[in-house]
Structure formats: structure tokens, C-alpha cells
Symmetry: C2
Amino acid sequence: MTGHIYSAGLLCAALVLPAVAAETPLSAEDSDPGKLGWMQGFPPPADKRLRAADGSFFEFPALRYSVAHMREFSPTVNVSRGLEAPVVLNYRPDPVIDTLRFMPWGSDQPMTFAEAFDHNYTDGLIILHRGDVVYERYAGALKEDGQHAAMSVTKSFTGLLAAILVAEGKLDENKRVADYVPELTESAFGDATVRQLMDMTTGLQYSENYADPNAEVWQYSAAGSPWPKPDGYTGPVGYFEYLTGVQKQGEHGDAFGYKTVNSDALGWVIARVAGQSVAEQLSQRIWQRLGMEQSAYYQVDELGTPFAGGGLSAGLRDMARFGELVRNKGRWQGEQIIPSAAIEDIERGGSQAAFAKAGFDKLKDWSYRNMWWITHNDNGAFAARGVHGQTIYIDPAAEMVLVRFASHPVAANGANDPYSLPAYQAVADHLMSVKTQ
Amino acid sequence: MTGHIYSAGLLCAALVLPAVAAETPLSAEDSDPGKLGWMQGFPPPADKRLRAADGSFFEFPALRYSVAHMREFSPTVNVSRGLEAPVVLNYRPDPVIDTLRFMPWGSDQPMTFAEAFDHNYTDGLIILHRGDVVYERYAGALKEDGQHAAMSVTKSFTGLLAAILVAEGKLDENKRVADYVPELTESAFGDATVRQLMDMTTGLQYSENYADPNAEVWQYSAAGSPWPKPDGYTGPVGYFEYLTGVQKQGEHGDAFGYKTVNSDALGWVIARVAGQSVAEQLSQRIWQRLGMEQSAYYQVDELGTPFAGGGLSAGLRDMARFGELVRNKGRWQGEQIIPSAAIEDIERGGSQAAFAKAGFDKLKDWSYRNMWWITHNDNGAFAARGVHGQTIYIDPAAEMVLVRFASHPVAANGANDPYSLPAYQAVADHLMSVKTQ
């Protein structure tokens, strides 16, 4: 599955589908956006122009440019870093990392970490060990003072903000969604608990199969588009209105079902509870507290609603600062910024039985909690994950935070997991050996 | 003339028209965007929603919200501040300033500086004296970590970037525009000199009379809109293509004619010369060099072209840092950041005879040079000016930089000049008296 998974406002889900591309895509080197010249020139020549309105900007290889330029294609809302001086990270580069070898899943050909960087169409990768930067590298269209589309990594921010409100006693995870957002009473979300929403165990009639032109994701996409609706459009306007019409399918609480609408419904719930949009909450609670280098931003729909399911763009190092906050259970520079209970609840994970029903066969024993992916591996690793290979991967045992931005041609983590997850494990193993020296 | 001067992408000119409003607009207090509740709520109620596509977001009083949220209504391109720590300004507040009295033009009722703040619908005002902050105040929708639409103040950045290239010998002001942008050969700009373009003494068939539905500004607006063109649209796409069709009227070099298209044509010229967009140049040459607190941004057309004639939004203090750079002839913290010759050329001013022909009767003896407004007053003051009262006002004799963001209901500086320019002079007089104490 390649190509066009964005249409007019909706950035999609970290589906884990078979990594079968219709044709062999260009390599990372050959698809380098600088080399291909997207949007270069004054004006760019006709064949190098990318537009959001027709979706062309998010077709591979053009998406390799666009992931680092989302706000040039869409209205956005700022996530202010505040005005203080950035907190400078300490550097302790470890040249061994690029030479680490690992065995990709289903392969008998080892690969080095450096080879995986390109194989996975990585745009930026940073690794912190005990808070120090041991690895940092940029490629594609991403610069160190640029921002990259986090896509479904966004969901983990939404889930964490909700978990914070739960930990603070402001949001009751046992209440029904309709208790907080009455407009959702008649929708599938209405009688789900907040907890079911946070863990995506709602029963929804909603397909994110981008290959199906009738899949609900396309209607969601149209509703959330920031562009004027076409003549004759009679559907919902904005993410929230769409959510009010989502129908139930099956029962809540039975199975994990990875559906972006859950994140936006949760974004609605926490906006109502906090009286602030997810963008405002993220700025006030986190972005202004960690000495971020850059403000971040969300894409918005035509009512100004931040896309809580996939609309965040941010700088690589700032994502690492955030990851380090999470690794340290909410502490940053000696201060408890967010409740440790919110992080501990993520680390404990969700129901592995519910997760198993979702059919992510390669993610054996994993679970999903507060919109984070929990590996339940020996190291207790857990992650935020985006559909083109973006991740914030936190390995508590290895005292490691790894953040990767990417623009893989296949819009499904099944395409990169075999070449990324074991690579992350190799780094963790290496850092743990360093640790014991 | 009130109201809707924005349509789908074009922010307009600092026209100086008679300050006659069709009806008495709400006061600054009564039009406070927080009080009126624009875009508040999840989602905002129907009567509080603002949209860019239908222009509603830029009608007074809604514009009082929108001027501080431009990127929520339009695709934009970042002007990166880089990643260094901001340069902290020194504070030396002068409480006398708010009490200073001045006589508005054409009035016999004195007004205090504080009264003028509200009278002029000020959203933010900062004054530096010898580089120290002596006054700083926010109102309306602007926060200290927010950005405000600079509108035609943007032109002065474009003009200064061009003046820098001239000073560096990279741009020949005596060459014809078509020598740099061959696509403009057949347009009115083709046989104008770069100098005529920089000083807006081109002869163009182009009206920015927003009251006239057939004025060319509306076609320009449609071309520069970031939104998909309506069905059946056959006009130019993007700012640059529009410029190729501008026709000549009269002769070049005779008279100052304040027309936004000159700034965008100049933006095109300097993009070609530097191989960088105006946004990239502004970031690299200025925004990354002054320890700015915030990145700035430009609105873009659907080809990603920054709107060099009016699309910049930035923070108030960062505008003051920039003003201080200009006041110090390009020096900042002991380093020459931009050539002093570029600033000196602005300070000398342009042709007062050419300016007099433009009919700005209240701006007697002024001139226009490198897209800055030169007062030729005793203090040698000069300014960047935006259509709702935005300004960067530099008074060399008083060692003063005054930056004001505003959202006056009347889209013409003629409405606020009688209550702002004498107020600035009163501050200058005061600071000069401080100086001699």
C-alpha cells in the first residue's frame, strides 16, 4: 500500500498492514526531496508544485518534502514554547551506534543501524541515554530548526494529556463520554467510558482502510478539511461534528480497535474538561515547561480545531526532551512537571487480550494504553507511533529515549517495524552494556 | 471606510484615506476579542466562527481576533529564529509615558498617550530608548508570546532585504526589472528600474481602492489566495503569475504610487537574485542573527510564495529588536549584521516631489524609500507602516524605536495618524528631555 493517505486535512493512523508496495518505490537517496526539487524555484516549475487541496503533496515521494513543511499546506495553530531560553542538551556522541548490527524480522541478512536509517526513509533520529544525546542525524527535508509531521504520534500526546487529567482527579475515566460531551450522546462514543476511549476499545463502525474509497476515513477527511467544502457538500463540518455521527459496531471494551476518531473524541473530552484546546494544554503543561527549542503546531480544521488524532508537527530535539520527561515519569530538571501516576499508568499497559483481537500479529503481547503502544518486553519499552515510521520509543531499562521522524513510502508501520524495532533493541542492548562497563 | 479589506489571501496596503467610517464602530474595549468570544468553545458556536474563505475573519470587529491568529486561517511559511537563546532586553520602564499629553491633528482637545492607546485600537506597543524597554503593553488578542499581522509593515522588510543586496553589489538598482525576472518583460514592471520598484515610482494600472469591486486588488487577491480556485476560474494562479499581467499606466519614475504589487515584484526580484525566498532571506539575514524570541511567519499563496507585500506576522518584542537593528544602522550587540549603507539610504529618503504627487496631504514633506516611509522631520524619523495602524517608528534623534500593532476598524492610516504620529512625537520629545537631564 503506497501513496495517498492524506486528503484535505486528515493525517492518518499508524495502521500496521502488510508491507506490500504496488511497485518498488524510490530509495531514500533517490527520493531525497532536495534532489527531486519539490517546491524549489520562484515560482516552482509546474511539475514540482505540490498542493494540499488535491492531495498531491502527500503522495510518495512528494511526502518526503511535505512532512517537514506541513504548515505550508494547511492552516495551523501554534503550540507556544514560551519565551525562555531553551534548555541545552548535553552531547555524548556514541559512534558505535551506526555500526550496530541487528537481524531484521523475517530475514537472515543482518543490517547495520546506519543501513536501517536509510532503509526506513528516516528524516531525523535522535537517541538520548540517561538524558545525554548519544546520536543525532538529519536527512530528507528535515533540518534541526525544522518541524516534522508526527502524525499518529500526536495521539500519544492527547492520551497523556487525558491521563494527566485523570491523575489530577479532573477527569473520571469511569464516566461515560456523553457525560463530558453531551453532543456525543447519540453517537457510538456516547455510552463508552472515558477509559475505553483512552484505550481505543470502543466498538465503532469506522474503517481506516485507505484502499477502500467508501471507508469512513474519507468522510472524516472531508469533514476535517481546512479547505472550503465543495459545492453541494452536505456532510459534517469539522472533526467534532463528524464524531457526533459515528455509529456503533460491536460492544465497547472487548477489543482494541485502532481508530483515529477515538483520539479526536478524547481531544474533545479533554478540551471540555480543561477549558482549553489540546494545543493550549500541550503548550501550557509541557511545551512551555521543558525549555523547548521550537514552538510546535497542529493542523486545524476549518473551525480551528486542532487535529488531536494526527496533526502535530514538532522539532526532533523537542520530541526527545518530551520523551525524556516521560522516561523520568514526569520529572524534568528536578521538578515534577506532570503527575508520575499518568506515566506509570501507561507503563503498566492495557489489556493484552483486547490488543490480541486487533490482529497486529507481529506485535505479539503488546497492549495499548492511554494512546501509547506498550511492548511488554523485558525492558518495559513503550512507544508513540506514526504511520510513516515516526516514533518516540522509550526503553526504561536501557535508560534510552529514541525519537525517529520518517517518511516511509508505505503508510503502515508493518513496513518499517521489521527494520526499526530490532534496531532500537540493538541500541538498547548496546547502551545497557555501556551502562555496566 | 470600514471592514472587509481582506479576501482570500491578500492583506492590503497602508493606504492613507480619509478616516470616515460608515458608522461608529465599537470602541477598543467593546470590540475586545476575548469579550466578543470569537472562536471560543469546543467547537465555537456558529455565530462566533470565523472563516478565511469567506473573508468573515477580517471584518471588524472579528479582525481584532484574527490579526493575532493569522496562521489559523492560512497556510504559512516559517521564518526561523534559529535555536539559540533569545537576547534578553533590558527593562527601564518609564511610567511618565502614559501620562504624556499631545494634541491630535485637527483637534483642540489634548489626549494622553494612554488614551491614544485605546483610541487607536492598539494590540501591543513597545518603546525602546537607547535599546532599553521603557514601555510595553498588550491588549486585544495579542500576547507576549503571540504574533501579530504586520501587514504592510512587511513591505519594509522586503525593501530592506533589497537594499542589503544593493549595498552588497548583488543587485543593481539601475537595471531593469526584466533583467532579473524575464517573466515580467511584457508587464508594466518590465522596463521599470529596480530603483523605481524599490521606491514605488512605477506607473501601473492598478487600483487598491477596496470600495471598488472592479479594482485590480480583488483580482490580485483571488490570484494570491491559498484556497483552491473556484470552478471556472481562469485567472492567474499565485502572486507571481498575476504580476506578469499588470499593465502600465503613465510613466515610471514620475510619482510615488503606493501599490502592493510593487513589493511582491520586488520580492520576486530578490528571490531570484539571492536564490532564496523572502522568508528564507529574512530568517538567515535577520531573524537568526538578533536573538529573536519567536520565529515569525509569512502567509503563502497556493504555490508556497510568501506574501512579500503584507504577509508577515511576528512578535512585538522581536519587531522592536529589528527596529533597534535599523536604528543602529545595522549593528547589533557590537556586530555589523547588515550593511550600514542599506540603512543610510533609507534615512536619506526618496524624492519628496514624487511623494507629493501621491496625494497624502497630511504627510507633508514625507518621502518613500526602499519601502520605508520617511518623515523628513527634525528628528529624521522614518517608519514601516501597516494599514490598521501597525508601525515600526524609528526616531534617530530621540534614540527611540516604537513598535505598535493594532487593529483599527478603519483600513487606512489616515484614521489613526492624527492620534498616533503626534503621540509618537510626544514620546520622542519626552525621551530627548530625559536624555539631557
